[in-house]
């Protein structure tokens, strides 16, 4: 898999490249929009990581130009947190995903991997991870023949985690996708909800499915 990283900040670009290379991806780095467009014309990338704030031609303009040239490579936008307008504009201009800064590198890697095999996200109405199933129509969860009552929020949280099994989900991402907050609530809301969810789906069962990734967020997977 070949990834293009467009980031003007050299240090950020450097550790993003290192992290992606550690995953076995081939990585190209550009520090400005025009170089990025030139690189995208000569190579086919499986994913593009694009910073919105770039000197000269900004990320959104690069994105629109790419799409105008019929380049369909999936794009992950990096934007400052809370810049809702930019983000909405980005998604409207054809971005596939976004990550607020400062981002969690493990999450960035996971998102890039997911973009590379786009369409892999399950659209089925019954989600299953190991012995845990969630019916997204009846909102019922079941593990080992036992049914759980879920509140609306718990359901959305579990659905979000189950739609990306094995993928690390950062706290801010969960806040944005499950709560639809475009700001950092400054509370331990996510942690408290995850704890409650864990009591329901993991207590009394082996193996544990819902794991904490310290300093980063949570992941739903079969083994640690």
């Amino acid at each position: 898999m070949r990834v293009l990283v467009v980031e003007d900040e050299k240090k950020t670009a450097s550790f993003v490249r290192k992290a992606l290379q550690a995953e076995g991806f081939a990585v190209d780095v550009c520090h400005n929009g025009d170089d990025a467009l030139a690189a995208a014309r000569t190579n086919a990338f499986d994913a593009i990581v694009l910073d919105i704030m770039l000197p000269g031609r900004d990320g959104l303009s690069v994105l629109r130009q790419l799409r105008a040239q019929n380049n369909a490579a999936p794009v992950l936008l990096l934007s400052a947190r809370g810049e809702v307008n930019e983000r909405v504009e980005g998604l409207n201009s054809g971005a596939d995903d976004y990550l607020p800064k400062p981002f969690v590198i493990a999450e960035l890697v996971a998102r890039v991997r997911a973009l590379g095999r786009r369409g892999g996200e399950s659209k089925s109405t019954v989600l299953q991870v190991d012995g845990l199933t969630l019916d997204t129509v009846s909102h019922r969860a079941q593990r080992g023949g036992k049914y759980f009552e879920l509140t609306a929020r718990e359901f959305r949280l579990l659905e979000f985690l189950m739609r990306s099994p094995g993928r690390i989900c950062g706290r801010m991402t969960i806040i944005e996708k499950v709560w639809d907050y475009d700001f950092d609530p400054g509370t331990n809301l996510v942690d408290v909800y995850v704890k409650r969810l864990r009591e329901k789906i993991d207590d009394g069962f082996e193996p544990k499915l819902l794991h904490t990734v310290r300093g980063i967020g949570y992941v739903l997977k079969e083994t640690q």
Binding site: T12, V84, R153, Y181, G186, T187, L189
Partner: protein, 354 residues
């Protein structure tokens, strides 16, 4: 009293005084001349004549003088009135347009020149603030992203020991905290610079209150705090849904965070006249009366001992205050130490005033 009225009155006073002096003088002169005249009838007649003449000429003269004075001051002050009208139209976004100058080098022309150079300086400052806030978020977050990324990479290295990893993790936690503070500050800076546009629409406030009540209940459970929602009237306000949710979360979270074990918190929403009144009351240490006026200040903490015990960026109430003000509402904070603390928010209901 207006300068124009004052000047006209002074002018009239001086005019009357001078006319009186002239009148009295003329009268005495005529009386003196007539003293030697022996014809009684004609003497009295002449004196009456003189008095009548002074009256008939003097009154119109005074009136004319008054009108003339009024017209003169009006004419003299007209450029000042015009200048005031133009200056009144100045706001943050048209500072670059200079006021029109007469160019005749008089006092008012000089005043206009001084005004123009002042607004030019203001425009420069506003411009710098705008640029700064535009880039501040990016500039502050880039180093945080770098730091965080490098620490995560170091965590992945296999030769680092457990204590080293623990240290790195605690540093990552601190970076997260710093990122939150940067977020809050950027929001407030942008609000100060008028760069945040609210996306206002009719919002069912009671639904938002119920939603944050549900979240607050979950947050309160591990701390054994009992939360209630005694009143929640159906109310619609014209507001920005995201910002109102942020306001509610900030306030309910405070009610939980600054509470005591086995404490209580009550949220209520009711209509009071043309306002939606949201009241959040909670038990806990509270804030001493002398410190209460300062609770909306940035980074203010009611009790210094809270600083470490309670996690938070110290900007919650400042942000709440901004959100309420942006919705043309009011927010009040009252607290009886060690008893209860109440935050009351009033937001106008009904159709928007455009």
């Amino acid at each position: 009293m207006k300068i124009r009225t004052r000047l006209t009155l002074w002018y009239a006073g001086i005019l009357i005084a001078s006319l009186l002096v002239i009148g009295v003088g003329t009268y005495r002169e005529i009386a003196e001349q007539l003293r030697h005249d022996h014809r009684q009838n004609s003497r009295e007649h002449a004196v009456n004549e003189a008095g009548e003449m002074i009256f008939q000429v003097g009154l119109p003269a005074i009136l004319l003088g008054l009108l003339g004075g009024w017209w003169l001051t009006r004419r003299a002050l007209n450029p000042v009135t015009k200048l005031t009208e133009t200056v009144e139209k100045i706001h943050e976004h048209n500072l670059r347009e200079p006021l029109p100058r007469s160019g005749n080098g008089d006092e008012l022309d000089r005043l206009t020149e001084v005004f123009n150079s002042m607004t030019a300086r203001l425009d420069g400052s506003f411009q710098r603030i705008r640029e700064f806030t535009l880039h501040a978020s990016h500039e502050l977050k880039t180093p945080l992203t770098v730091l965080r990324g490098e620490m995560e990479m170091a965590l992945e290295e296999e030769n680092s020991s457990a204590p080293q990893k623990e240290r790195l993790l605690s540093q990552i936690d601190e970076i997260e905290r710093l990122a939150k503070i940067v977020d809050g500050l950027t929001l407030l800076m942008k609000a100060d610079a008028g760069q945040i546009q609210l996306r206002r629409e009719p919002v069912r406030l009671d639904e938002l209150v119920r939603e944050s009540f549900a979240d607050a209940k979950i947050l309160a459970q591990p701390l054994q705090i009992h939360i209630s929602l005694p009143v929640c009237e159906e109310l619609t306000v014209f507001g920005d849904r995201h910002r109102l949710r942020q306001l509610l979360l900030n306030l309910t979270d405070n009610a939980v965070k600054y509470n005591k074990p086995d404490g209580t918190a009550a949220i209520s929403l009711r209509r009071v006249e043309n306002f939606a009144e949201l009241k959040i009351e909670n038990t806990g240490a509270g804030v001493a009366p002398e410190l209460q006026p300062r609770v909306f200040e940035r980074f203010f903490r009611g009790d210094p001992s809270h600083s470490n015990a309670v996690e938070g960026c110290g900007l919650g109430l400042s942000i709440a205050q901004w959100i309420v003000a942006a919705h043309d509402g009011s927010i009040r904070f009252t607290s009886r130490p060690n008893e209860s603390t109440t935050v009351t928010v009033r937001l106008p209901t009904g159709s928007p005033v455009v």
